[in-house]
Amino acid sequence: MNALKNILFFLFLSIFVFQVSAQNKYTVSGYVKDKSNGESSIGATVYIKELLKGTTSNAYGFYSITLEEGEYTLVISYIGFKNIEQKINLNKDIRLNYAIEPDVITTEEFTITGEREDKNTNEAVMSTVELDVEKVKALPALFGEVDILKTIQLLPGVQSAGEGNSGFYVRGGGPDQNLILLDGATIYNASHLAGFFSVFNSDAIKDVKLIKGGMPAEYGGRLSSVLDITMKDGNFKKYEAEGGLGVISSRVTVQGPIKKDTASFIASYRRFYLGDIVQPFISDSSKFKGTNYYFYDFNAKLNYIVSEKDRLYLSGYFGRDVFSFKNTKDGFGMDTPWGNTIVSLRWNHLFNDKLFLNTSVIYTEYQFEVGLEQDQFEFRLFSGITDWNAKLDFNYLPSILHNVKFGANYIFHKFVPSNATARSGEVDFNTGDIIKNYANEFALYLSDDWDINEKLKVHVGARYSMFQHIGPFKRYNNNEFGSPVDTIVYDNGETVKFYHGIEPRITARYSLRNNASVKASFTQNYQYIHMASFASVSLPTDVWVPSSDKVKPQFSTQYAAGYFKNFKDNKFETSVEVYYKTMKNQIEYKDGALPEDNAGNNVDNSFTFGEGWSYGTELFLKKRYGKFNGWIGYTLSWTNKQFEELNDGNVFPAKYDRRHDASVVFLYDISKRLTLGATWVYATGSALTLPEARYTIEGQIVSDYGDRNSFRMDAYHRMDLSLTLKGKEEKRFKSNWIFSIYNVYNRKNPYFIYFATEGDIYSGTLDIQAKQVSLFGILPSIAWNFKF
């Protein structure tokens, strides 16, 4: 901790010294945006040709460079856009806003490359990947549904949660350890239909950034990763409509200026309608009449440039899955709506050329509800989490050598872990108190991207986080059978438990010759809210719970190092990273815990605690442009866990421990109108627990399980292809057809294993056969997209 203090001290000192010695320094600053639609450009490179130094535009397109007086050439570059070069005479502070033009030259003649060519080797950033949403759209997709969460699974260090699943694991971290942000708001459950689709409608998305290590100080609250997704702002120039018709869902997006160049909007709607399509074919006499499943997503955003210094953004997302099941014969009915709601209001303010502030006020909510009825019985279960979140994020750019970020974040959490009501006729069952948990989470952070010299650049930062679990709260102390023996009651606002800690975040880059560099990072993270899962996959029923008197915050330490090198004019990008990560205070349900134990009880009474660790290496080779482009990723890793009360206290592999994980992704432009996309993935089989012995009681055969996760399913591998055919280019109307084939060589990948028992043990005819179920065989699909 002392080392950290020293670093921070020197950091302040260096900024201070710099300020004092600064004579005749001036600032050039402004915004970078896309000329065609006015969208701000995130991460565009702005650099000074003479100095070979520069900066990148922030999440709102703002950049600022402070230099000694003089004449310079400013270069603005961004992937897929034409470079802008401009001579400037810096003898006073100047404001220059740039509108960059999309590069319409075909890839064959790609002479300029947009994004700063050596960003990969040059930045003091590692284990971070940005995705180009337009390229993602040309990749093959299950049912033709473009899904950014499934695309990030193709990156090294990121593992899929299973066949067709949009859930992901990063460097041995659990699904609750990923911070998923949509326009700054946390999305607590990013999946539809038990994981087959993510909640992100790619038409409404501008930018996707995944951070799997070396997490900068501005992010916190999760151990393993940040997936930062930015929605489009809406076209400032003209009205535009786009959409697509797919086999199982359709979507439509409209955007346009409210006032040209000043205010714009975008609204996007997606509806899954497979269930609706089959509705008319369920005959009126069928006992399942009334059974349906669908989901929808609605995204909307308004943004308003109030003045040269102020800009407002209002974004919202609302999505629901609705499953209703009816069996009229049995008088059985079920209704299950679940989904997320977010509203985020942000205000950008420029105090001066060097100080930028973003203020956010965010509401986010995830709710799950299930209602069952049969005859005179009614059962309702609901759970959820609601956050009120306020953030101040400052960006201070005192010189070309420093990019300082600091800020504060406050979140008020309300948890409804799992509450049930039940009745039979007039009698209400006693399902316990409606339990709600409340907590305050607070964080302060400071970081600097600092060019120390030609060779060395560091990102050094720290985050101080605090968590207060507050009353009203009831702690149920139960006996070993789960019946309460006594309860401790905490009043409104009374502190149940307070935790706090410092999280250092350091990344350093050292440049080598020949466009290569080595990087290393050290990060520590606290996570104060947790999600545990009963099942082997994440389900919408999984609940979030706060740290409490029983549950300590999760804590991770990650070391990563890497070698980065670009070849052939940065056409090829390569990297090798190694990492080692430890995770303390990990949570699992106790052996034999049941979901119904949570009713009228503290969920954390069913938890047991242990630790986890993960290490591995990730190789990445990317061809960035050309007719043929794409990447190959490979991960070799180990993820283990140890819990005193599980598996007899012995170490066991995590269920997402994958020794090998590889992916090949490429796009090939056959002609101007035709693009071929292909992906191939390989992953070591999932770890699972299998019965090793059987016994019989009352004539019923049951299993005695072996060591936890000691069995491996067969390896998973699959190839997908897609063909995008662009319609004839017309002035107003653009369209394309996307044909895709999932699982081209029809690999029977294991989805789960079960045991079929036939015959009767007492007549000696018993036969037990293991069966492996595969989900998707070869699966073609087609989608049509339009834009005008």
């Binding site: 012995a693 016994y695 004539g699 049951v702 009767d760 179920v773 699909s781």
Partner: protein, 313 residues
């Protein structure tokens, strides 16, 4: 016709058409653990079946089954005042007239029992016949291992009322309903069985879960229903059709309703979930909560009441 074709096409292109295949799984040799299946009821002798687990895929034949039983174990049951050793009896040594009683007590069908010899430990000493309110400890020494357990026979809680009601949409089939007045103590647990007179050879645990406790209705007076249970792996037509969970009008139903203690309840609850979940990929491997120290299985006392209902709506 056209409609259904369209549906088929749609289903073909979109619906999750899963497929399955047989696979071979190599499991390492494992330690075979001792399994206890023991019970005691008021006015009845204690019964204990002692066996060992077998490898999951071990072949099954009469020999392997017979070999699963553990012979020559020292089994003691104590009720606090008396400590009595149980003796081993194999069913092939018993007269046929006793077999229905044995089938009942060890919870297997009479057919199974007749086709296959069971060995169990019991006593004919009336000093050790079950009594309501007493606690029974079990001590087993077998093949160098020691197993212990404790259970009680709780005071029976009688059911207020049973009745039968046709299920909507059916004219002759329906569930059996009951009205229970749960005592004020939290933690009371129950197990329920039915036997259709002249149809079932024994009391069969209720379907869809034969045990429940008062976690959600402590001290309440409420109504609920039960499904008709089946013999394990029953292939009978009536157990596999649309009405498999229902009783039929005209059935004479004998109901065995028992009060059991919490550890005993937790065993059956987890046992039935494990049996039900077998192979469900979305469920974690179900751990069966045994109340046997040093082994697997159950040692359970039952506070029993019997009633008869003639199913008429």
């Amino acid at each position: 016709m056209k409609k259904s074709k369209l549906v088929l096409m749609l289903l073909f292109s979109i619906v999750l058409f899963s497929c399955e295949k047989d696979i071979d799984i190599d499991l390492a040799e494992v330690d075979r653990k001792l399994v206890v299946e023991g019970s005691i009821e008021p006015g009845q002798p204690p019964f204990v079946i002692l066996s060992r687990t077998e490898g999951y895929f071990d072949p099954v034949d009469i020999n392997s089954l017979q070999n699963a039983f553990i012979h020559d174990a020292t089994v003691f049951v104590s009720n606090g005042t008396n400590n009595i050793q149980l003796t081993e009896i194999c069913t092939d040594q018993l007269p046929d007239s006793l077999l229905p009683t044995i089938a009942e007590l060890i919870g297997v069908s009479l057919t199974s029992l007749k086709s296959f010899g069971f060995c169990l430990y019991t006593t004919l000493d009336p000093l050790m016949f079950g009594e309501v309110g007493k606690t029974y400890s079990l001590n087993i020494q077998a093949e160098g291992e020691v197993l212990t357990s404790i259970t009680t026979i709780p005071t029976p809680v009688p059911m207020d009322l049973y009745w039968y009601k046709d299920q909507p949409g059916f004219t002759d089939y329906g569930y059996m309903w009951f009205k229970l007045n749960d005592p004020p103590t939290l933690g009371t647990a129950y197990r329920i069985y039915t036997q259709r007179k002249g149809v079932d050879s024994r009391f069969i645990p209720a379907g869809g879960g034969s045990v429940f406790d008062d976690n959600f209705f402590n001290g309440l007076n409420f109504e609920a229903f039960i499904w008709r249970g089946h013999e394990v792996n029953s292939t009978a037509e009536e157990d596999n059709g649309e009405t498999a969970e229902y009783f039929q009008q005209g059935d004479t139903i004998i109901i065995k309703f028992c009060t059991i203690d919490q550890p005993h309840f937790q065993f059956w609850e987890s046992f039935e979930i494990a049996a039900f979940n077998n192979g469900n990929p979305f469920a974690a491997p179900a751990t069966i909560k045994t109340n046997i120290e040093g082994g697997l299985g159950v040692w359970g006392g039952y506070g029993v009441t019997y009633d008869t209902l003639i199913a008429v709506d």
